[in-house]
């Protein structure tokens, strides 16, 4: 029976790793201490933060209803809208924004840590603006660059820049200037494939007014680039650094004067790039209006951290009370079950980090509730064991019988709770979802800890000595 010791050691290793992963601070402090004292270079355990929901870290969550009555392809329009809003939100400098399409025509925007809600709402609500810009003449470019330098110098010296003549000139793009051509005149952009090379191309179609302006613009810009901006920024990340900023410029070169309102953008681009260019052109051409949010939730930063701290304290006290109760009422097995419960907490927290589960207040509520429910299986088993011992069964037999007989009840009742969790989860409101998910996860992990871990503990620790000290059981 050496096998049970291997399993026991395996369980301990999992528990310790999970515990350190869930809360690496002490371990890493210990490593630092040893490294300093012994001149070792032990590595730190990788730290991975919990993903906190908006209600815990503060921020604003907005839900918008898009007006899709003017568009035929609703899915594509929503994808385009999502893309546009995500670009804007990224430029707003929010740490980890989440922009998601909900259902058919809803858009949810989550901005952690944003305090200026009014500005955020204003920025998100704007209709996307697509413009085509042409190259400036060299002298003009030079003038603007000089002015920018002048303003920057003045700023460096702390002088009042508004005293400089024409200081506004410095705000302009030195290389490109807007033409009359905007998204208003663009009917549609589609990705097509070249008949011979099979490379993706983007086909543009302008309306009749647009066709005239486009002919005019292309006519005076032959062999020059025509830059395309959406909301004042390049439509694609050309520098490839993962974000769109002033370094990016998407400007196809005009080959000929194009009349008739049909144009094709060619070039060496991947399918994905072509699709995203077309989608951004479309969101400028067929703007989807979203107006004011239909629901809004703002949580101040203090409220979130206070609630988080308070619920963690509550969880700790609750855990302590359960442990004391178990030890008092079920003595030695109760102690083992308490250790299993602590392992349960470590494993569950590690899983929360690993997946990662976005921790909201509701999720923490579900988790705390699951601490109370996790020992239920143990209680069923131990109560059964006591009965069997009273009935005169030997220790090993009583343990076996306790697990075997309690199983149908454990299975039935937990299955029932899981059904309720599943129904709650598919109700799809974020509060309920978080709660149902953590509760369900808690139930599953607790089945493992209460049945498997406790059983291994009992097999390892309850030996001959226990026959003499039955009062402990």
């Amino acid at each position: 029976m050496a096998q049970k010791y291997y399993i026991f050691i395996g369980v301990l290793v999992i528990a310790v790793v999970a515990g350190i992963f869930a809360y690496p601070n002490y371990f890493n402090q210990g490593v630092d201490f040893l490294n300093q004292k012994m001149l070792w270079t032990l590595p730190h355990f990788p730290e991975k933060p919990y993903v906190l929901g908006l209600d815990l870290q503060g921020g604003v969550s907005l839900v918008y209803q898009a007006d899709l009555s003017q568009t035929a392809d609703k899915t594509a329009s929503m994808a385009g809208l999502r893309d546009v809003i995500e670009r804007r939100v990224n430029m707003f400098g929010v740490s980890e924004p989440v922009v998601e399409v909900q259902g058919q025509d809803r858009l949810s925007v989550e901005l952690p840590g944003v305090t200026n809600v009014e500005q955020a709402i204003q920025m998100i609500g704007q209709t996307p603006y697509l413009e085509f810009d042409e190259e400036r003449a060299q002298t003009e470019t030079q003038q603007i660059l000089d002015k920018i330098k002048e303003v920057q110098d003045a700023q460096a010296k702390g002088q009042d820049i508004s005293k400089i003549t024409d200081w506004q000139t410095a705000l302009q793009n030195p290389y490109f200037k807007p033409t009359e051509l905007t998204g208003k005149y663009l009917t549609k952009a589609t990705v097509v494939f070249d008949q011979t090379t099979y490379k993706p191309q983007i086909q543009l179609k302008f309306d009749s007014d647009g066709a005239k302006i486009f002919a005019d613009v292309t006519g005076r810009n032959i062999n020059k680039p025509l830059a395309i901006y959406l909301d004042g920024f390049s439509i694609i990340d050309t520098s490839g650094d993962g974000k769109i900023d002033n370094q990016d410029l998407y400007a196809p070169k005009v080959q000929n004067k194009i009349t008739g309102g049909d144009a094709v953008i060619t070039g060496d681009m991947s399918n994905a790039t072509a699709t995203s260019i077309a989608s951004r052109l479309n969101s400028g051409a067929l703007p989807v209006k979203i107006g004011a949010p239909i629901s809004q939730q703002t949580v101040g930063p203090t409220l979130g951290s206070v609630s988080l701290q308070k619920s963690l304290v509550a969880a700790l006290y609750g855990l302590l009370a359960v442990v004391i109760f178990m030890v008092v009422f079920y003595r030695f097995p109760g102690l083992l079950a308490s250790i299993a419960l602590v392992i349960y907490v470590a494993i569950t927290l590690a899983i929360f980090k690993l997946i990662p589960v976005t921790m909201s207040l509701s999720g923490i509520g579900g988790f705390i509730l699951s601490i109370g429910m996790a020992v239920d299986a143990n209680i069923l088993i131990f109560a059964r064991m006591k009965e069997e011992i009273k009935a005169g069964r030997g220790l090993a037999g009583a343990i076996d019988e306790g697990f075997k007989r309690a199983w149908p009840s454990i299975r039935d009742s937990n299955f029932n709770s899981l059904i309720v969790c599943a129904i709650l989860f598919f109700m799809a409101t974020s509060f309920i979802k978080g709660f149902a998910f953590t509760l369900a996860l808690g139930i599953l992990v607790s089945l493992f800890s209460a049945i498997f871990i406790t059983r291994i503990f009992l097999m390892v620790f309850v030996g001959k000595w226990a026959e003499k000290a039955k009062w402990l059981l």
Binding site: V299, G300, T302, S311, G372, S413, A428, I432
Partner: protein
């Protein structure tokens, strides 16, 4: 030793009967105050940075200050506040962000105010959520009934399996009704609302209550298989006695964490914890004192009817 649980069945029925009737009366007279997530509107939690010891602005003062915004009915629910400063939750009809900022400015004129959270739910969203919640409750009840009928399909003598299903359903309604009654009164007295967390709590109570009943019924099933089906009442009492320790332990461990959540957890989870505390206490009570005695009463009643029918012949 066997406790004669079913001897006093009539007492339990009367206690629960009174509670249920009182709940229904409360629900009809006071109704339930639904949160803005179900009816739409705005919800603003603020803390008043009053000078040391000064009371917060009165409800009338707040309502007066915001009169010009035409916010409909403004309810003010006091909260524990933050670091000794008094707080309140204001509820009124839906507003846009600009109005929201103006309201904050107006409140600041009254007394320095910081906002802790603001929520706005449009009417369509509220309606949608209400429908979804109704669907979830119906689905949960349906699934649970099906599961019990399935779990007890092998038990048919001396009480058929569907009777286990029906009695646990009755216990279930009992357990959900009582917290609803309490919240109806709290809503009337303190403007406590039925919010999404409360609904989640109620649905969890559904699961827990059945969970508890199943453990006892499971034991009854086992004892019938072991001892034969004579003396049904005796078997039920014996099963209840056997499971009593477990029932108490389970409810206590859950109550420990919930009570700790109620007292030490944040404001947001307080009502949620309260709903669960009431529901889970009621769930344990009903599993022992309602579901199982009902099973016995039903069995006796059918037996008596059977007797009468045979004696008539």
């Amino acid at each position: 030793m066997t406790f004669q649980f079913t001897k006093y069945s009539i007492v339990y029925y009367i206690i629960s009967g009174i509670l249920v009737v009182a709940t229904i009366v409360c629900l009809f007279t006071f109704g339930l105050k639904f949160g803005i997530e179900f009816v739409g509107g705005s919800n603003m939690e603020v803390v008043f940075q009053t000078t040391q010891g000064a009371p917060r602005p009165s409800n009338e003062a707040i309502q007066d200050a915001l009169k010009s915004f035409n916010l409909g009915q403004i309810t003010v629910q006091p909260t524990a506040g933050y670091k000794g400063y008094p707080g309140a939750i204001l509820r009124f009809k839906g507003i846009d962000e600009a109005t929201h900022q103006q309201i904050l400015t107006e409140l600041n004129k009254l007394t320095p105010t910081t906002e802790k959270s603001f929520q706005y739910i449009g009417p369509s969203v509220g309606q949608e959520l209400r429908n979804k919640t109704e669907l979830a409750i119906v689905l949960a009840l349906f699934a649970i009934t099906l599961y019990i009928a399935f779990a007890f399909r092998k038990v048919s003598k001396p009480v058929s399996s569907w009777k286990y299903g029906i009695t646990s359903l009755i216990a279930l309604f009992h357990d959900v009704l009582i917290p609803l009654g309490v919240f109806s009164i709290l809503g009337k007295l303190y403007n406590v609302e039925i919010t999404i967390p409360i609904i989640a709590a109620l649905l969890t109570i559904l699961g827990f209550s059945v969970h508890d009943t199943i453990v006892i019924f499971d034991r009854i099933r086992e004892n019938i298989l072991r001892k034969g089906m004579g003396q049904f009442e005796e078997t039920v009492n014996w099963s209840l006695t056997q499971t009593l320790g477990r029932s108490i332990s389970t409810v206590l461990t859950v109550e420990f964490v919930l009570i700790s959540l109620y007292f030490f957890g944040g404001e947001t989870l307080k009502d949620f914890a309260l709903a669960l505390i009431i529901g889970i206490t009621s769930g344990t009570y009903s599993s022992i004192f309602i579901a199982s005695p009902l099973l016995v009463s039903w069995y006796k009643w059918s037996a008596k009817r059977e007797e009468r029918r045979t004696s008539k012949k």
